[in-house]
């Protein structure tokens, strides 16, 4: 990561000084003129989501024999029909909200996404999904590369990272994305009040615009200070956003509430990054019991996404929004001795939005132990990928962001059957 961040600094200094002086984003005007705003929300399910517990092949006998304690009984899954290979599938019982979105045709489930020789490492895996480059996991993030491709000047709030540290997927050569875990605390405080505080803030703003020469590492910190000072005002408007419904009291709920607020306020942000963790369920996965570990993960996901979906719908912004999920890997098919699952391979991606053609994409794995079973790998231990994850990114880049996927992904990963957009 070091090299790329140096590149970031080299490219970033000049770019940022332009950004700092740029006018407020004109999205309201653009919208008034009929232009469609396209927001992308990247949702990371961190830790390696056990896709087989989220989208369940409930008629596959091997699902039950290989998961004696973790399998969800067929009678409890939320049935959503069969995929093109006639495998009957159902959502985890706690995903009632996602089922609702699915029934409205606004949720696409893309099965068996991954890549060849999939990494089982959290870190390498996350890097690969972030860069969209299995051969160069230290490259810039794929969303970062997209931001770099936008015509300058790029607004300082073009991206919004809802986590504390900049994720790899947003790393760019010359586009700084602010991290705003909580818009309410994204404010400048002072030890004094009145004129003293004003004078201090003036000094801080002026200092932050300084560019130290020939000190790229220090210049990087100046850039973040400048990004902070120049975005305080607009972020403050998001902090006061009153949603049309109550979001769940979870990190993901708070993050998506802020994302909706940023969209409603029209502050100009195009790309958002949110994450929810805890998916590394090596033990006590407890898929079935209310308040079980995986049950709670599904509850967090479901309740926050449903609130976000409904809020945007009420605000008339659903058609402007696309949510794409990823996780660094799926999990082992057979449960381990700790009532959990170890690191696996291919997984299921979620794509949601007002312009999504919902449904089941790709085919489910057959979980039988036949050595010739082509849908599995690793001695039938893991799900083998069917759809290269970059094909999903390609559709998002071409069909939603209006950019050139062949260029951004350094290759042609377009796949006609992935017509969810």
């Amino acid at each position: 990561m070091k090299v790329t961040r140096r590149q970031f600094v080299k490219g970033g200094v000049a770019a940022f000084t332009v950004t700092f002086a740029a006018p407020e984003f004109l999205s309201d005007l653009a919208r008034a003129q009929g232009a469609q705003v396209r927001n992308l929300v990247v949702l990371n399910l961190s830790g390696g989501n056990d896709a087989l517990s989220m989208l369940i092949p409930y008629n596959d006998q091997f699902y039950y024999s290989r998961r004696p304690t973790l399998a969800v009984p067929a009678g409890q899954v939320l049935q959503i029909g069969s995929d093109s290979s006639n495998v009957a599938l159902g959502l985890h019982p706690r995903l009632t909200g996602l089922k609702q979105i699915y029934d409205q045709g606004r949720l696409a489930l893309i099965q068996r996404t991954g890549y060849e020789n999939q990494s089982r490492s959290h870190f390498l895996g996350t890097d690969i999904w972030s860069t969209a480059d299995p051969n160069n996991s230290q490259a810039l993030g794929w969303v970062g590369r997209y931001l770099d491709s936008l015509p300058s000047p790029v607004d300082a709030l073009v991206g919004w990272n809802a986590t504390g540290a900049l994720p790899h997927v947003l790393q760019a050569a010359h586009t700084a994305v602010p991290s705003i875990p909580n818009p309410a605390t994204y404010a400048f405080s002072s030890p004094n009040a009145g004129n003293e505080a004003t004078a201090e803030r003036t000094a801080a703003v002026r200092i932050a615009s300084h560019v130290p020469v020939n000190q790229p590492e220090l210049a990087f910190v100046y850039e973040t200070a400048a990004a902070a000072m120049s975005t305080l005002g607009r972020v403050a408007t998001v902090a006061t956003y009153a949603p049309t419904l109550t979001y769940p009291n979870s990190g993901l709920g708070a993050a998506l509430r802020a994302v909706a607020g940023a969209m409603v306020r029209g502050i100009g942000t195009r790309v958002f990054y949110v994450t929810t963790g805890g998916f590394d369920t090596h033990s006590g996965q407890n898929t079935n019991a209310a308040n079980g570990a995986y049950f709670n993960l599904m509850a967090t996901l479901n309740d926050a996404v449903l609130a976000f979906y409904t809020d945007l719908k009420n605000q008339g912004l659903l058609d402007d929004t696309l949510v794409v999920s990823f996780s660094e890997f799926g999990r082992r098919i057979s449960e381990n001795g700790s009532q959990g699952t170890d690191h696996g391979a291919a997984s299921t991606m979620l794509v949601m939005g007002g312009r999504v053609s919902g449904g089941l994409y790709g085919t489910a794995a057959n979980l039988n132990m036949d050595p010739k079973n082509p849908t599995l790998e690793n001695n039938n231990g893991d799900v083998h990928y069917e759809t290269d994850f970059r094909s999903v990114y390609a559709r998002v880049i071409d069909g939603w962001l209006g950019a050139d996927s062949v260029r951004l992904l350094n290759g042609d990963f377009r796949k006609g059957s992935l017509n969810f957009l």
Partner: protein
């Protein structure tokens, strides 16, 4: 012996500690660099009674909610550790504890989720002498073995209760081997990614089958606790073969052993990992980034030299660290200020530089979280994503705002201590730039500070002005980009 310049001493104590208190500057300033380094690495010779000063006047304060309970309440455990970072006379021990905490990154949240908040704190932070079951929390393990032999540390970590919960070793049995610890001990704790294969992970999981937890002691007197046990019946006795050597003769296979002897598998494996040449190189690079510079990659000669010392000393981290702190790379002018301070390093150094009397470290905990670092709760087993990743705009604001909080808290102390420099805004600014060391600050920025000092009225040097301008200027200095470097 030659005394050490303040510039050198501060560089050394920023890296081998958390900055310098005045009394540290006074004491170490009388010594040569060699003497200081020897004192720092041989910290066992310095009395460790600093925790006895918690709650006493003259020290940074803690905030108690009822009884101060750092062995069972995670908020209090965090406060105790911050207190030690400020006041311990063994700075390198605390610094190494932080290094190992990040290296073997274990998250309180998962332990607390599995065992409850009280027990979670206990296995992360309890002092054995104060625990009814003699539980030594993980951070105490890191303090005890901060500069011990790496294979001893690795073995202690493999048997550590918090680690056995964190990476699920407690459920590793022969019927269902658990891969989590086996993978991370190779990927993150020793050799690094790329030096092992997937089959190595599966074999490694089998090595540690039966390395579980038991729960002796009595509930009635609080001595009941979890601790490591090797369960022979749960051990996979078959041979395990790896892609790298396990034994000095180059053999890659741990032989089949009876279940009663099976614990030796794990010891052989740990010794092999500690001795693997990739481990010395991995540690050398990581130590370089943490102690020397993260603004350049270590030269091959540095990596080879440190890895060589590691290997020749039989993995003695005290000798490794002595070599590192005396290395030409450490003292290269390019290494000064060539590291981004972690949030705890920033906070503790600010306390040492700005002042702590009347400030409670409890007030630093939420800011630390906003800066991206929750002590005892790294984001995942790879530790904190350090370097430039600390500096998102939100985190930078949190640093600036902590500087504000501390400056506001110290308003009167700052005005009092700078009273002798009240003649002019120039003398006032010089005083604070001297007290709060930063890498050199560009003239344009210094003139903005001067503009601020003279912005709201003519200079009188009277107390109200010193309080306002002193705290405001300290906010600007400690919140400056320069101050985020160390």
């Amino acid at each position: 012996m030659a005394r050490t310049s303040e510039r050198e001493l501060e560089h050394l104590l920023r890296r081998a500690g958390f900055g310098a208190r005045i009394d540290e500057l006074d004491m170490y300033g009388q010594m040569s660099v060699n003497e200081i380094v020897d004192t720092l690495v041989n910290f066992d010779g310095i009395v460790d009674d600093v925790d006895g000063n918690i709650g006493k006047p003259g020290y940074v304060q803690t905030t108690t909610r009822g009884v101060f309970s750092p062995n069972s309440n995670i908020t209090d455990a965090r406060q105790r550790w911050l207190f030690r970072m400020v006041h311990s006379d063994r700075p390198l021990q605390e610094k190494m504890a932080l290094f190992w905490h990040n290296h073997f990154a274990t998250g309180y949240s998962k332990i607390a989720g599995a065992l409850g908040a009280t027990e979670g704190t206990r296995y992360m932070a309890a002092k054995a002498a104060e625990d009814p079951g003699r539980v030594r929390g993980q951070i105490e393990l890191f303090r005890d073995m901060a500069l011990g032999r790496f294979h001893d540390l690795l073995l202690a970590v493999a048997k550590d209760a918090a680690m056995l919960v964190w990476l699920d070793g407690r459920t590793n049995t022969k019927a269902k081997p658990q891969e989590n610890f086996a993978r991370e001990i190779m990927e993150l704790f020793t050799m690094g990614v790329g030096n092992y294969t997937e089959p190595d992970v599966y074999a490694g999981a089998r090595v540690f089958t039966g390395w579980n937890l038991q729960r002796p002691g009595l509930a009635s007197d609080g001595s009941q606790h979890y601790e490591f046990i090797y369960v022979p019946a749960q051990h996979d006795t078959a041979a395990k073969t790896f892609s790298f050597p396990i034994y000095p003769d180059g053999s890659k296979t741990i032989p089949a052993r009876g279940q009663n002897d099976g614990m030796q598998d794990g010891i052989d494996f740990i010794n092999a990992l500690a001795a693997n040449p990739n481990t010395g190189r991995y540690l050398a690079k990581k130590l370089f980034r943490f102690f020397v510079s993260e603004f350049r990659e270590p030269d091959e000669s540095f990596v080879n030299r440190i890895a060589g010392v590691y290997s020749n000393s039989k993995f003695d981290m005290r000798i490794v660290m002595r070599e590192l702190l005396l290395s030409p790379e450490f003292w290269d002018p390019k290494s000064y200020w060539a590291r981004y301070s972690w949030p705890v390093e920033f906070v503790v150094r600010a306390l040492k530089d700005v002042g702590w009397r009347g400030f409670s470290v409890d007030s630093a905990l939420t800011p630390l979280s906003n800066m991206g670092q929750i002590m005892f709760d790294p984001p995942d087993v790879s530790g904190w994503d350090a370097g430039q990743s600390w500096f998102s705009s939100g985190a930078m604001l949190a640093r600036m705002n902590f500087a504000s909080t501390l400056a506001a808290n110290q308003k009167f102390n700052l005005a009092t201590s700078a009273k002798t420099a009240n003649k002019s805004p120039q003398s006032f600014m010089s005083y604070f730039m001297d007290a709060i060391a930063t890498p050199s600050v560009d003239g344009a920025v210094r003139s903005e500070w001067m503009t601020y000092l003279t912005a709201t009225g003519t200079w009188t040097g009277a107390d109200p002005q010193l309080q306002a301008k002193g705290s405001g200027l300290v906010h600007l200095i400690a919140g400056s980009p320069e101050y985020q470097l160390q």
